[in-house]
Amino acid sequence: MNAILLRGVKKRYPPREPGLAPQELLSGVDLEVKRGEFMAVEGQSGSGKSTLLHLLGGLDREFEGEAQVLGCDLRALSDAELAALRHTQIGFIFQSFNLLPALTALENVLLPDYFGSGVPDAERRAMEALDRVGLADKAKAKPAALSGGERQRVAIARALVARPPLLLADEPTGNLDARTGEGVIALFKELHADGMTLLIVTHEARVSHAATRVLILREGRLGPEDAQHSMETL
């Protein structure tokens, strides 16, 4: 059963200057991701990887084509329904962590609990999530007091707290040093082993190597991994 199904998805941005043609970042993307799959999408900067991820997370609704995530037709869902889908079914991880500076690590992890119908047994789950990423002892620390790797792990714990079946990550190791990045990749492998579906956009080969399938986003289309291209991105 598919966790993600895209058919002919196109995404255009308005021209940057009057008189120029609209910018087409995705030009008919087809994608099938099975439940429990660990997929990496590679591509150069500006190739549309983040756009694809935002689209899959229901954050960007202005596109053409068919898009189904966990059986839901994204184009048919209302804004509130999309919010509920993100709240319960999708975990997001961003390159720049995106933690709220005023909140502690634990409060950041608890953020999904503030919305919708909350997260059942949220406090315990948040501590479990922090424990899983090895930061149980930093629960009361503010993001400013954490290292880059620790912040990303808090962000991962936040993505996991609602126990979503699908994890979308945008360059999750982009701002981490090699050693910290390896730790995050190991964590993704663990999550995959637990049955979670992961779709990670990256331009780092070390992340792609951990995935069970790698696709390349090039010229607005997704295609199979190309050895030569992989070398280029390295």
């Binding site: 954050l59 993100r86 961003f94 709220l100 503030y114 919305f115 936040r158």
Partner: protein, 425 residues
Amino acid sequence: MRTGKLVRLARGNVVRELPALAVSAGGVALGIGCLVFFLALGAGLKRVVNDVFPVSTREVEVVVPSLAIGNILGEQKLDETIVEKLRKIRGVSAAYPKMQLRIPAVTRYNGLFFGREIHMGLEIVGVGLMPELVGTDAHAPFEDAGEGKPVPVVVNRRLLELYNKVFAPQRGLPTLTDTMLIGFQIPVELGRSYVAGKTLPNATEGSLLLVGFSDRATLAGVSLPLAAVRRINARFGADAETYSSVLLRAQSADDVSNIAAAVKRMGLEIDETERSRALQIGAAVELVTLALSLLAALITGLAAINTMQAFYASVRERTREIGVLRAVGATRGDVAAIVLAEAAVTGLAGGVVGVVLARIAAVLLDRLARTGLPDFPFKPESFFHFRVTHIAVGVAVALAAALLGAFLPARAAARLDPAKALTES
């Protein structure tokens, strides 16, 4: 999104944005401080006016019109029959006739007056009142005890105030309280006048016994029991049948206009002198309060605009953060609610600070008035009267101003495209 969680999230953001929001809250506090200050000042001054001119909204004073045709022909008069008719007007709950002492009377006092020897001679103006009208203001029976007995009198409180604040300081006399004077007797000569040719042939001596101070008492003299005035007028052959005025008490303030119309239909008139003066002064106070309150509202309005700018800036700065909130499941409504909750916290803080500032300013001004202003009649202990409603209005207006100011930024935050918000640097 549950209220508790919303408040927790908003509180964290407010703490983080404290410097910027403190400026907004300060603006709101200034506006609300002015508003509450002026409202309390208006209420305080109104209270002073009510003390000086105590007017009941349920009472009217009926008199014979001075220019009525019937009056010229000697037909228009306020006698018992008319009083009975007045009592029967719809909406009238009671009628209290009053009678002028229609003979001259003087007092001569030579002796000690609270430690000071004085020599005093006064023409006395007297008005007869029904004992029910004076009520508990009289500390001894306010009834005619009969010929040869002291006549109980009540004096208007305002006369005591004028004595204490004007007369006593100028003459070096002691200031007095009502309890010091109650029970005081002064000799009186009924039928005698200091005006040549006005003294009546059978003038007699007697005494007046001060039994209390009342707002019901006449301002121009002393008030005696109606029966005593009637007896004295009759004894000297003066008119003891017709009344000088009748006080009508309405069942409710809404009945007053109907009663006034009925009175006019009877060819009588409502004495508006005191009432209209009080109403005019009251209206002037209200007008000034309104103008100052509008000024305060303007300041609050500017504070709302300042709040709007602060929240626009805040939303701009937190664009990416808003994207994150949307990514973890916040709806547009949640985002708007968070911004509005922050505004509410800002407004409430501004409102509370504003009320406290108004209170402090009032205390300081009262202190200044106590020490800096000379003593004058009816000088109040405080020029301010803070009502719970003023505080409630102040806090509510502060809240409304902050919410109004944050409305457009909240809408803008809610409308942010989450995908674009997440890519904001």
